[in-house]
Homo-oligomer: 125 residues x 2
DNA sequence: GTGTATGCAAAGCTTTTGCATAGGT
DNA sequence: ACCTATGCAAAAGCTTTGCATACAC
């Protein structure tokens, strides 16, 4: 049986407050605002549990490493800005299913776009 | 000036012989067929150099970790089979550029598809 | 001969695990 | 009271780095 610990509740809060994919270090940092004693091992263990429970999804970001984000959001993908070095959620799905050879059984997909985000593009102009 | 060492030539050979993304461990293993004494640190150093030189491209695979593949091949993406746990190169590009919000400046993209590859699908049938 | 690249070992990261204890049920 | 989850520290991966020597030029 899974217990409702203050640590896991804190970690869930972190994801509810920040609507973008986050790494372990960020979760730990923000989580300590709720539970000062929060330990890194606890974060790792809970992220794993939350992924198992289907509450979080694990992403492999090409330059930021492993990130986690809430499940249950509308289908979307990610954009990484090379200027501010952050990952954003992109609404919609630019995947054209018909362009995949039909011998492959596609069950899931992950798309990362790279470039410059709207707010960094403004500054560079 | 960059020197043409037998180790780097061996590593290049490995990529010429295997046309799929490979991890450090695989490069080391196959590379030792050419240079028995090949060291892991040398592999890491040369993979880095080859990426700098634009001869290799680094990929972040969601479950296999960091992989490397030759550049200069036609534009393509990757498929990961959950049965045989290997990454394949998929010809073509299923990205629909028009489906990306236009405020974002897209410079590059990475797509991973997950599922079952043709040969594993046959066995499971 | 000069200086970069290698092999080895040590050190840095990130992530996992063992163990005693705190705390949820 | 029971037994899972936590905190701490050690350990296990993966990757980088320092240093003496080998070897490409």
């Amino acid at each position: 049986m899974r217990r409702k610990t203050t640590q896991r509740i804190a970690i869930e809060q972190v994801f509810k407050q920040h609507e973008r994919p986050m790494g372990v270090d960020e979760v730990l940092e923000y989580g300590r605002d709720f539970v000062e004693s929060l330990n890194q091992a606890t974060v790792y263990r809970n992220l794993k549990l939350l992924v198992e429970d289907g509450w979080l999804k694990r992403l492999s970001h090409p330059s930021l490493g492993t990130l986690y984000e809430r499940t249950g959001r509308p289908h979307h993908h990610h954009f990484h800005c090379r200027v501010c070095n952050r990952a954003f959620e992109l609404p919609g799905c630019p995947l054209n299913e018909n362009a995949v050879p039909e011998e492959y059984i596609v069950e899931d997909h992950e798309i990362f776009l790279f470039g410059v985000c709207p707010s960094c593009a403004k500054v560079t102009e």
